[in-house]
Assembly symmetry: C2
Homo-oligomer: 397 residues x 2
Amino acid sequence: MSTDTTERMRIVTRSAGAGELFQLFRDGRPRTRTELATTTGHARSTITSRLEALLSSGLIAPVGEASSTGGRPSTSFAFNPSSRVVLAVDLGATHARLGLTDLAGRVLAGSEHAINISDGPDAVLSWVAEIGRDLLDEAGRDLADLMCIGAGLPGPVEHSTGHPINPPIMPGWDGVDVPGILTGHLGVPAFVDNDVNLMALGEHRHAWPEKTDLLFVKVATGIGAGLILDGQLRRGAQGAAGDIGHISPDNELTTPCRCGNIGCLEAVAGGGALAAELREQGVDATTSSDVVALARSGNLPARHAVRSAGRLIGTVLASCVSMVNPSLIVVGGVLAESGDHLIAGIREVVYQRSLPLATQHLRIVTSRTGAAAGILGASMLAVDEMLSVEAVDALAG
Amino acid sequence: MSTDTTERMRIVTRSAGAGELFQLFRDGRPRTRTELATTTGHARSTITSRLEALLSSGLIAPVGEASSTGGRPSTSFAFNPSSRVVLAVDLGATHARLGLTDLAGRVLAGSEHAINISDGPDAVLSWVAEIGRDLLDEAGRDLADLMCIGAGLPGPVEHSTGHPINPPIMPGWDGVDVPGILTGHLGVPAFVDNDVNLMALGEHRHAWPEKTDLLFVKVATGIGAGLILDGQLRRGAQGAAGDIGHISPDNELTTPCRCGNIGCLEAVAGGGALAAELREQGVDATTSSDVVALARSGNLPARHAVRSAGRLIGTVLASCVSMVNPSLIVVGGVLAESGDHLIAGIREVVYQRSLPLATQHLRIVTSRTGAAAGILGASMLAVDEMLSVEAVDALAG
């Protein structure tokens, strides 16, 4: 073996250990060198050199002295989530939320904007970078503090590349290297996923971390779901898992859908469908938000429409419950804000239609993280990638 | 720290390392001490003591000399899958298959029997133990060689305990400690799961190990599915994931199902439903096997019934495809043997109804492992549990 190879091997081995050691700290608990040596079974000298690499990366910081049974007090070390920041981006068709978070997902600054996703990737993503710089200023942080970017898009995204694939409501975005463009603007790695996947991730980690099997359903103009099984987001083979908006709840339905098929859930129970239904009854409604406002204000046709939509969504979710057996269904998206009418319709059908074994411990609830779900999830996605064993090895190497 | 604690810690640490080291060998490739030290970054002395523990357990054996660039030749070590055997059990309502396999899932002996699951757990499980002993004899192995038992049951099984929960066709089995009873008979750990989950596992590992997202559908008297996502079997919160037999493919259907609901997939497309439909047309058919034999022999009503069943199953699978985005659907169970009629009906509806992104790389095929899927999966389940990091630590400790 040449000296070069041996030297490379030594470096790889040292930094490989740093990433592994770092994972122990992600629960936030401080640990001493002795504890780390005991937990890992590694020699103290190994622990010391790996800790040094992590300290120099800033990810780990000393946190005062641990109590000791006498003698010299031992220093404890802990994850330092404020060492770096993350730009979290949640892009919708006509609306965007951006946030700057620390590495634990705490939002340090944030803003909301009306946008038009069909302006295309060049315009939208350079605007995102601009707002990102503003948020850094607002939070009093430098561009050098930015570790990574996480972004959600309102369409299917190929997980391995972060590229949108045939997104129906994003003209000009098909196959575009969104992570590459964002990295070009801000000089840090970027990670991109479908918006509903990120909402599921944000809601799961922030509100229900103890649940291992959870289905997050977004009901807005579009309808989609994010699937957590065995504690992790499951995206399926092409990243299209959870795409329930184009399942038909009833073979008799013939309403045309923007996807080209007929009778899709989204075409009969999405916000646009409900607004159209209300207009036919002479009620003034254009957007999902109009429908929500009407239902909340006591408009009976609106309440009836939302409840019926809940039943149609419930029919599809009953199949999903049989298929994946979640212990929790979380309903989010703007239509979830229309009081209890949506969720009442969903519960009615799911509990009637699914097998007792699958529903006896099943809860169906409204989202706790609400409109913030998307940016919380975007931050988590990026942080998980950047703080993986291999990525920390590289940072500490 | 007391000497006792220190000593216990040393032992835990040593054996912990053995389990971890062993995982490297599961791919079957032999490795030298030097390779192991390089791969793990551990000192040669650590590798040597962990290897000794694995050699004494019999799981690892020396496999001759590795080629060397001169000097003393180095010994290689490899996983020794024939060191121990596994009893694999696939119980159906009226039929059982048992097999003795090595730790790599090679079947060393096997047998098939007519049984009656409603004889209850005491009778059935003591009979299983008896056949298990016969198979050991047949393969020329001792009871001491038996490492563990894996068993599939034709009903829902709680994954954490291995107990059947409200199994509809297994009177007397509800909540019974099946693993405990099997262990009582044969003195080794036993692992129990739903039969379709085990068929999915067997088919995946033996025939499609490179596919990460796969749906296995069993079509027989009952209909059920097993779900592989990100390379692992996903069971959901109560172990009921994949229970698609009680999803209704059409809201208009009113056929009563044995589950108490109406219009379930199993009640309209299961083997019993098809036999009943044929009898109404004056065709002599009682069981799923009768339907298969008729379809294979060219009986047109039977072929028509199987194709229609395929369409109904396809309607439900189209929703599953949207929900979990598999890249492969494998159709197994006895009705899959009725020529191409079943799968043709399934393909017809799935490709018509699902989104292009989810179907562009989707294949729908007939099971390759056929009737052996269940025992192959039962063996894998048990071996995976017994050869996990923690379990090997215990064996080698």
